[in-house]
């Protein structure tokens, strides 16, 4: 293996050079010749009937190219949903239409009503203000439980109610679960909210539609985590453009966190308008616009019950969740509270009986979809909070209660339809105890007390299902797409490699980590490998980067393609060395004949492939380029244990994070520096959810947190240095790299640790507080202390 550039090396990132020198190319940095700009006129009411949209005066304003309204999209498809959930009665979910521009009704603040294309952004906005819109206000539904009451105003008139689906999982187990509760020695019950969040990647969304009439080709430049998926959804379902006539480019993308997975109306609009107007059309979202048009995350209201026997073994778990869909079904929305949530309710524990009920509800709010973790943070939060509460009710140590109920034998088939391949939850808990210095807590507690502060310790575990797949399984579960990945590995004549991957990098460091894998396989320097991604014109089909799947699925596809390359190269080497193919070994960038000193360098073999003068042309083709598709056999299951120590100011309720430790098992690790960075980022988002972030609407559906003035983003002084460890490694058994994925763990595992710690601090101070809903803002903590 190369001394410092293979698997396991903390290689510095090559992409950093362009980002550090201001030469990255994000979508908003691109401008097409002759481009016009679009401004969307958005609804300022949550629910209303569109009586008229008069664009006559606005159309005469300076610089206006054309104004589009819903009527212009009558022959155009609806923004599609990519996942169909079947309810507990076997019926498909209710699936409303989602027009590119509002038709008939507006359904949330921010719903686009009209789009003005003009010569400059200011002219477009000026004209948008001159559009006369007559809206008949309708009562809005915001609260999910009220939305499903009899007689509630309907978000979609053509649906029977605001209930998208009522999902039971596993429905056949319900009676047995109920029976276990009747027999339980102890039942712990908790009602909680998983607060609505806004993903807030620092780069706002941008879309540029371009059209080449010469070849009838459309191009969309967009801030996407998955350009191929956008091409498929937008081309096939919305605009009716076949894939060979549509190119989607996602260049440097400034973070995604889920909210840039989805296909958005603005993308379809710019592509459509560019073709209509025969000139490029650009949209750049402002942050204020992002708050009301990017899909939001989380927003679950849950009742969870845990049944235990007389020996404190978990015997059953039962939940009822209301999950907010918002006003329309975003791309993956229905899957988040179901297959990404219900399947994880076993957690790290051998609870034999589990029943999960989820009611997905339409409301007059921005659509809700996947946000870092997507369903798994919601599952982890409920479970790890209820276990903590149970331990307190039973007077047992919360860590001991967890250990007692850990799954310890693998593979383990859960009662919620997944099979964990590997894991060692005691190992990560042991490691946590060490890095978090749990034995030093009492001393730190005493120190805090001296300073008039309440200190608390919160510990929890998590497990997640990553590398989402396999395709045939997700197809049965309602996915309308496959979930494989692909890669084309092109070896050039002089030995350098170009890898075209369907995975997309928007901060994850693929350009550095992927070459490390190939460097390891061939024994060459990673600088000989270039990664190409983000453009459907020059990369093979990919389902995108989310669900911590790029290395586990996309990396595996690359490994498979590289294996094909190596196999062919060995044939060439065997020919050059006049040896039998079976005797050829590849090591340190050279092919040798086993047991001899005969060898040929990597570069000589690759040259022979392209200059095949001395070459077995009768047996193999010239050239060295291979493509592989990889469809995994199972999810991967990263897991770990987290600990948080907080101080609470008893006078103000302000919580500060004093220490945070994370012990993760990600299986094998390719670049530990990048892995740690991923955990750090996830932790800040999880701590942000627990303490700071919360998207709020008033009862009329007005967005109260429409900017950073009211939506509290974690800043550098809100978080501490983190103690992270990934040395506990139980490699994944079913992918060639043995990797599990690390992108979401931090965000999944950290919220319960924070809340457990705050409850611990308050209880140690004698306060009768068993739960506080996130975010644990100073005012909420103070109110809980003084209730």
């Amino acid at each position: 293996m190369p001394a410092d550039g293979g698997i396991g090396a903390p290689m510095k990132r090559r992409e950093d050079i362009r980002f550090l020198t201001g030469t990255g190319r994000y979508t908003d940095d691109l401008n097409r010749p002759g481009q016009a700009y679009v401004h969307f006129l958005r609804s300022n009411v949550a629910h209303g009937r569109l009586k008229s949209v008069n664009t006559e005066e606005a159309a005469k304003m300076p610089g206006v190219v054309r104004i589009f309204t819903g009527a212009d999209f009558e022959g155009v498809g609806s923004i599609p949903c990519g996942w169909q959930v079947t309810d507990k009665h076997g019926q498909p979910m209710q699936e409303p239409a989602h027009p590119v521009l509002a038709q008939g009704k507006v359904r949330h603040v921010g719903d686009p009503i009209a789009a003005v294309v003009a010569e400059t952004p200011d002219q477009a906005r000026d004209a948008a203000e001159a559009i006369e819109v007559d809206i008949e206000d309708l009562p809005a539904v915001v609260d999910m439980k009220k939305a499903v009451e009899e007689g509630a105003p309907k978000v979609h008139d053509d649906l029977t109610s605001n209930l998208c689906y009522d999902w039971g999982f596993v429905e056949e187990n319900k009676a047995a679960v109920d029976e276990a509760f009747e027999k339980a020695a102890h039942v712990t019950r908790l009602e909680l909210k998983n607060n609505r969040l806004v993903a807030n990647p620092m780069e706002p969304r941008v879309a540029i539609g371009d059209y080449d009439p010469a070849g009838d080709n459309s191009t969309l430049y967009t801030t996407s985590q998955n350009p191929h998926v956008i091409r498929l959804l937008m081309g096939a379902f919305v605009l009716g453009i076949p894939e060979h006539k549509l190119r989607v480019v996602a260049p440097d993308v400034g973070g995604g966190f889920g909210t840039k997975i989805f296909h958005y109306a603005e993308e379809a609009f710019c592509t459509f308008a560019a073709k209509q107007l025969k000139r490029p059309v650009k949209w750049t979202s402002s942050r204020s616009e992002a708050f009301m048009s990017d899909a939001h995350g989380r927003d679950h209201v849950t009742t969870i019950e845990l049944a235990l026997d007389g020996d404190n073994n978990f015997t059953a778990l039962r939940t009822e969740t209301f999950a907010n869909m918002g006003a329309y079904l975003s791309t993956f929305a229905p899957s988040v509270p179901t297959w990404l949530h219900g399947t994880l309710m076993a957690g790290n524990y051998k609870t034999p009986l589990i029943y999960v009920n989820v009611k997905a509800v339409f409301t007059n709010t921005v659509p809700v979809d996947a946000y870092r973790g997507a369903g798994r943070p919601e599952a982890t939060y409920q479970l790890e909070r209820v276990i903590d509460k149970a331990a307190r009710e039973l007077g047992v140590d919360p860590i001991d209660l967890r250990r007692q109920n850990f799954v310890t034998e693998f593979p383990y088939a859960t009662p919620v339809a997944v099979e964990y391949d590997t894991g060692d939850y005691n190992a990560t808990m042991d490691k946590l105890s060490e890095i978090a210095d749990l034995s030093g807590f009492e001393a730190r507690l005493a120190e805090s007390k001296k300073n008039g502060k309440l200190r608390g310790l919160g510990v929890n575990c998590y497990i997640e299902a990553c590398g989402i797949a396999p395709s045939n399984l997700v197809g049965q579960l309602g996915a309308r797409a496959g979930l494989y990945e692909s890669a084309t590995v092109r070896v050039n004549a002089t030995g350098g490699l170009t890898v075209m991957t369907g995975s997309h990098s928007h901060g994850q460091g693929h350009e550095t980590a992927f070459p490390q894998v190939i460097a390891e396989m061939i024994g060459i320097d990673p600088s000989m490998v270039e990664i190409v991604h983000g453009d459907t014109a020059n990369t093979p089909m990919g389902m995108g980067t989310y669900g911590s799947r790029s290395l586990a699925v996309g990396g595996s596809a690359m490994v498979r393609a590289t294996e094909k390359i190596i196999n062919k190269a060995k044939k060439i080497a065997a020919h050059l060395l006049e040896a039998s193919e079976g005797d050829i070994e590849l090591k340190d960038g050279a092919f040798s004949v086993a047991g001899t000193d005969k060898s040929v360098a990597w570069g000589d073999v690759t040259l022979a492939a392209y200059v095949p003068h001395n070459y077995p042309l009768e047996e193999i083709e010239p050239g060295l380029e291979e493509t592989a598709f990889y469809d995994p056999a199972n999810f991967t299951y990263p897991a770990g244990a987290y600990a948080c120590e907080v101080e609470v100011d008893p006078e103000t309720g302000k919580v500060t994070i004093e220490r945070f430790a994370a012990a993760d098992d990600f299986g094998n690790v390719v670049n530990p520096m990048i892995v740690e960075g991923q955990v750090h980022g996830g932790l800040a988002q999880g701590i942000g959810q627990a303490l700071l972030e919360g998207c709020a609407y008033d009862e009329d559906g007005q967005l109260l947190t429409g900017s950073y003035m009211d939506y509290a983003m974690p800043r550098a002084d809100d978080v501490p240095y983190y103690d992270v460890d990934h040395s506990c490694q139980t490699p994944c058994t079913h992918n060639p790299l043995g990797v599990k994925g690390c992108g979401e763990a931090g965000a999944i595992g950290s919220p319960p640790a924070v809340v457990n710690a705050v409850v611990d601090a308050l209880q140690r101070a004698g306060k009768d507080v068993t739960h506080i809903d996130m975010p644990l803002s100073p005012s909420r903590v103070w109110a809980a202390m003084n209730q």
């Binding site: 200011d122 906005r125 204020s288 006078e651 950073y708 009211d710 100073p778």
Partner: protein, 260 residues
């Protein structure tokens, strides 16, 4: 933003003249005004930039009174140090970049109910100097985003008598980092002044009950047991009126302790 003209006079006289035009508005550091303009919540025909007027900049310490030109940035006040409590306050407004642009005159004239400077001015018993007159802080801040300034009148300087002891403590709103409650206390020759920002529907105000208690005993204990009615307090997603009323007491004590 709507379109407007931006002029950059180099003298106060030219600025006043330019402000006489219809719908002209002064632009100081712009740290609050520009976001407002972006939201299209203001529609000036002309913005008269004050940043090029040297006579509006600078800090002078004249016999125990600190006179600060209106166009002096927060960063400059933070660096000055001759009125430590004021420099400390200025050094914690917004963030470093905002402090390099934002000015004392802009902040005072805007009178945002969550801004820090109004508390310093009121708490110190400062005098606000305009192009026409001098106005005592007690008369200057008249309500939410309201001041005693007339149309076309601008703040040119703020004069702070430096008190024996003073301190400002801010409890930040978690998102904006503006004051959820900020309290400025000053022990002056004429008695103690306590000014509270962030909390009240009416903007910055003096907490006279606390002032009385602290007059006799300038120590945190003096504030014990004092309560403010929650009636006029701001209630929003970041805190109820009751919470803010409670915080005023806590933060006042901390400010007194900090003043020493």
């Amino acid at each position: 933003m709507y379109a407007f003209e931006l002029t950059r006079p180099t003298s106060l006289a030219d600025a006043i003249k330019a402000l006489g035009e219809e719908d002209a508005q002064p632009l100081s550091g712009g740290q609050t005004l520009i976001p407002t303009l972006k939201q299209r919540l203001a529609m000036p025909s002309t913005l008269v930039s004050l940043s090029g007027i040297e006579e509006l900049k600078g800090i002078k310490n004249e016999g125990g009174t600190l006179s600060i030109g209106a166009a002096t940035t927060h960063a400059a006040v933070a660096r000055d140090g001759s009125y430590p409590a004021l420099s400390d306050l200025a050094g914690h407004i917004g963030d470093p970049h905002v402090r390099n642009r934002g000015t004392i005159g802009g902040s005072i004239a805007n009178n945002d109910p969550s801004a820090c400077y109004p508390a310093a001015a009121l708490g110190s018993g400062a005098t606000i100097v305009t192009n026409n007159r001098e106005i005592g802080a007690d008369d200057f801040f008249t309500g939410l985003f309201e001041t005693a300034l007339d149309e076309g009148e601008i703040v040119t300087a703020v004069k702070f008598p430096i008190p024996e002891k003073a301190a400002y403590v801010k409890f930040e709103q978690p998102a904006s980092r503006f004051a959820l409650v900020g309290v400025f206390v000053a022990k002056t020759a004429d008695g103690v002044r306590v000014a509270v920002t962030g909390a009240s529907e009416g903007g910055v105000f003096r907490w006279s009950e606390a002032e009385k208690a602290l007059d006799g005993n300038f120590s945190p204990d003096a504030v014990d047991g004092l309560t403010l009615p929650a009636d006029d307090m701001i209630g929003d997603l970041h805190g109820s009126p009751e919470y803010r009323a409670h915080l005023v007491g806590v933060i006042t004590k901390r400010a007194v302790a900090k003043a020493g």
